[in-house]
């Protein structure tokens, strides 16, 4: 009975999120990028000059809204319960690699669904890689993988990340001159600040209430044959699909998709890294933001790992370039090596925390 209610809430929320996501594109966000946690954290890393790729620098209010929406609603509902201490450094580096995988594909799981809903078939290849990564992660979970128990933390510890996003927003509004902003490329394309912030807040609140998570959804289907969580993302896909068709934004195919490339092997492997890493973290990048808003300091560390990964991805040319009139796009040799290396390291982390730790116990 409760699960039926959970499922209904997830589907209704998913429909609303799909509509909001396409609306943000209509209001100015880059193509199929109503939301993209990876791209937006990368843009923030650029705005604060952790990376200096001129086309991807902007303080995305959506990210600030997502964290604060979750923070506010969890405070109101008595669910702001700071917890942490479950292998924070390991989580930092897993998140770092998740970001590299996402930037090789050019999107987080959330944007992957939005790209799919706009007819971008490259996202279908990525989905196969993503699900494969989660399946590998599930194998380790079912063999006993754990990053260790999180324990209760002080309220002040849990408030640090949400408070820092407030500070970032205040500085963004009050002294924008201290930040770097793209004048061309995806970083220069954005919805009005108030719309972006409101969208982030609303989706943050809804995602906290429903535990919306792409990784958790596929994980539950594999491990316990339960479709509740995945229903949310299927609903996002369906409503964004209808919105895209209605507004003429639907374009079925591989070629010519906005902020995308058609290097199939690397779309597959990039998202395999994201699926595997996120399964080990216990949630996709969106979920990490929402959990950080609830005071989960392990997720806050993961968010910092994502930002650091984005900075490295651009400073060391690991991120893919998008298809354009002059280039087919895709990852550089550095990006390819980073993806293969990330898969090897994630498998090593998973194996050590599954088999060797058990022997020690």
């Amino acid at each position: 009975m409760t699960l039926v209610k959970d499922k209904r809430n997830l589907i209704l929320t998913g429909v609303a999120i799909g509509i909001i996501s396409v609306a943000l594109v209509l209001l100015g966000n880059p193509g199929n990028m109503g939301f993209c946690i990876a791209c937006f954290l990368r843009d923030i890393a650029g705005a604060v000059k952790l990376q200096t790729a001129g086309v991807v620098q902007y303080v995305r209010p959506e990210i600030i809204g997502l964290i604060l929406g979750s923070f506010i609603i969890s405070l109101l509902k008595g669910e702001f319960k700071p917890r942490g201490g479950s292998a924070p450094i390991t989580r930092f580096f897993i998140a770092f690699m998740v970001m590299i995988g996402a930037l090789v594909f050019l999107g987080c799981p959330f944007r992957m669904v939005l790209r799919l809903a706009a007819g971008d078939l490259n996202a279908l290849v990525a989905l196969a890689g993503f699900a494969s990564g989660i399946a590998i992660g599930c194998y380790f979970l079912s063999k006993g993988f754990s990053l260790g128990r999180a324990r209760t933390q002080t309220k002040s510890e849990g408030v640090v990340l949400p408070a820092s996003t407030i500070l970032l927003f205040v500085l963004f509004i009050a002294v924008p001159s201290i930040f770097a902003f793209s004048t061309s490329g995806p970083g220069s394309m954005h919805a009005p600040i108030i719309a972006s912030l409101a969208a982030g807040l609303i989706v943050g609140i809804m995602a906290q209430r429903t535990r919306m998570c792409m990784v958790g959804g596929i994980r539950d289907v594999i491990l316990v044959k339960d479709w509740t969580l995945l229903g949310g993302f299927i609903a996002i896909f369906a409503s964004a699909l209808v919105m895209n068709i209605a507004t003429g934004k639907f374009n079925l195919g591989f070629a010519g998709q906005p902020v995308a490339h058609s290097q199939h092997v690397w779309n597959f492997l990039g998202m395999l890294v994201v699926g595997l890493g996120s399964a080990l973290l216990g949630g996709c990048p969106l979920r990490q933001l929402v959990l950080a808003g609830e005071g989960n300091t392990d997720s806050a560390v993961a968010v910092l790992g994502l930002i650091a990964g984005a900075a490295f991805a651009h400073n060391f040319s690991l991120a893919s370039s998008a298809y354009s009139a002059t280039s087919v796009g895709g990852p550089s040799i550095y990006g390819k090596v980073a993806v293969i290396g990330s898969i090897a390291i994630l498998l090593a982390i998973a194996s050590i925390n599954t088999f060797i730790k058990k022997r020690e116990a």
């Binding site: 809430n9 535990r211 339960d226 609830e294």
Partner: protein, 78 residues
Amino acid sequence: MDTNSEKVATFHNHYGAMMFKKRVSGSRLAPVPRSLSSSCGTAAFFSSPFDVELSDENLEAVYIKEGESYRMIYENKE
């Protein structure tokens, strides 16, 4: 109290839920009900009586269903 009405056990990790399912016949795994937790882990649903002996370090808490809500009947202290 500890009758044959439905109970839900929550865990610190998925492996804990799997091990619990092996120990408690007739139990089934499903996502933790939203009303119990904002986390998205796996819970074990079962109706046989709960005994502390069934607990291990991965078990977080056990709840009993009362009407549409749940009441905690066991908490594994940290």
